[in-house]
């Protein structure tokens, strides 16, 4: 476990985190191209909770979705082709 491999490891990992952090920073800074907001596809049918677009309370949102799908199933008791 010589010293050089520790050094290369630390520099490598540090360089890559820096590369990623700079990427995030520059990405946040560059403005959206003119007249092209994000497409209407919000996150309603994407289940990934860790992508930076997901609203913070994505998990609660999924649970409420299931709850009200249950509710309208019950309230629709009378409806024929629920």
């Amino acid at each position: 476990m010589n010293f050089t491999s520790i050094l290369t490891m630390t520099l490598l990992v540090f360089g890559l985190i820096f590369f990623y952090a700079i990427g995030i920073y520059l990405n946040k800074k560059t403005p959206l191209p003119s007249g092209c907001d994000l497409p209407s596809l919000k996150c309603e049918h994407c289940t990934s909770t860790s992508c930076s677009y997901s609203e913070p309370n994505r998990v609660e949102q999924i649970k409420t979705e299931i709850k009200n799908s249950l509710k309208n199933k019950n309230s629709g008791e009378g409806a024929i082709n629920e």
Binding site: I17, I24, Y25, T49, S50, K63, L70, N74
Partner: protein, 215 residues
Amino acid sequence: MTKKQNFLKGIFSENPVFVLILGMCPVLGVTSTLFGALGMGVAFTLVLVLSNIIVSMIKNFIPNEVRIPSFIVVIATLVTIVQLTMQAYLPDLYNQLGIFIPLIVVNCVILGRAEAFASKNNILDSTIDGLGMGIGYTIAIAMLAFIRELFGAGTLTLFMYGDVNIKFNLIPNNAFEPISILILAPGAFITLGLLLGVINAIKFNIENKKSVGRS
């Protein structure tokens, strides 16, 4: 949110596989044998709990701008440690899981929990949350692996290490021909789809009884 609720939510109300439907790649990939699923479950729980602990410990030292990169480094380091120890001391499990151990790093559940929960709660709650989620995940993939291996190969491998091979051959002198498609790739999709459907049906049933009882 009491401690018990915090723990049980990971298994029932917010089960990562059946409710949130996250981290599907390993769920389909490793469940061709029960041993693979249990091994994956344990490795996943270990990484999830340790990452939740570490993240909740260092959350106030890390400035907000570099939050996600440092969390990714923490999780990747933990995954590499698990990978190396498994390669050294459990080679059969390592060969069984193959590519899916390093893929725990990109598992949506872990980074999601670290960011959504661990970076906002103290160490104890994060550990309980991680444990709950991990056990919920393990139960889910163990159920899937049980069904797939039982009907697909008629055997249940519990533990493989070198020549120790605890394997129950459940078809007495091959009474029925195992449905080998279940062990194959399509079997994973179909079994999981059916399993999710059945669980939804049970849930609707319970909700129905409760609402009928109430009204």
